[in-house]
Subunit: 115 residues, 2 copies
Amino acid sequence: MLLRLDNRDTRPLHEQVAGAIRRAIAEGECRPGDRLPSARDLSQALDVNVNTVLRGLRSLRDDGLLEFRRGRGVTVAKGADERSGLLDQVHALVTEAARLGYSRTDLIEMIRGLP
Amino acid sequence: MLLRLDNRDTRPLHEQVAGAIRRAIAEGECRPGDRLPSARDLSQALDVNVNTVLRGLRSLRDDGLLEFRRGRGVTVAKGADERSGLLDQVHALVTEAARLGYSRTDLIEMIRGLP
DNA sequence: ACCTATTTGTCCGTATGTATG
DNA sequence: CCATACATACGGACAAATAGG
């Protein structure tokens, strides 16, 4: 799993980290049960603080994509491969919407308002 | 631009007005630079109070979709058509979600659950 | 079973930048 | 212009799990 961050990306680092790993899972580079590199290794590779990496990882855990075990590392959760692609789309949509001035509530309204 | 409100809709009237006009813009019925019917005309056509219409229009102005000019009316802002592309993205998302067995409610929960 | 060194995520505080009043 | 609040990113100390002797 080879990750890199884009300097031109204006999003917070922890979001970029989360997005990169989410896509790696969506594209099958990491499969359920696989172990991720340790947060410290990732932080070295990406040249950001460990806690910044962990913040990104935590958000993926909250989405049900990852599982944490102190002393054992971070593993890809069961079913993460199916959900990650969809969550990736959701994230992209929410981000694009925010850029254009639309709130999440507006998006929910759009979804509800579809024919 | 033909607008109508749904009696069964439980949302506040000003939200319904805003939603209806937003959709009209997204579907190309109103293009950037076009003038909207006056708030008074809209209030007559929709059978709601003028201030209710204005409240909805104001929220669209805050989103950057409309521009107000005293004495000259309300016009569709530049770039408002580009934002309508969001609806296409929403469509694609809902379709892909359905293919994977996720309902709109599931998507809404995903959006709500984002960090 | 025991110890201990290492690896791993968790938790605390702090500096900096960005809004907000 | 100043003050206040909030988010972001960082650093260091900590505790759980592991691996080797």
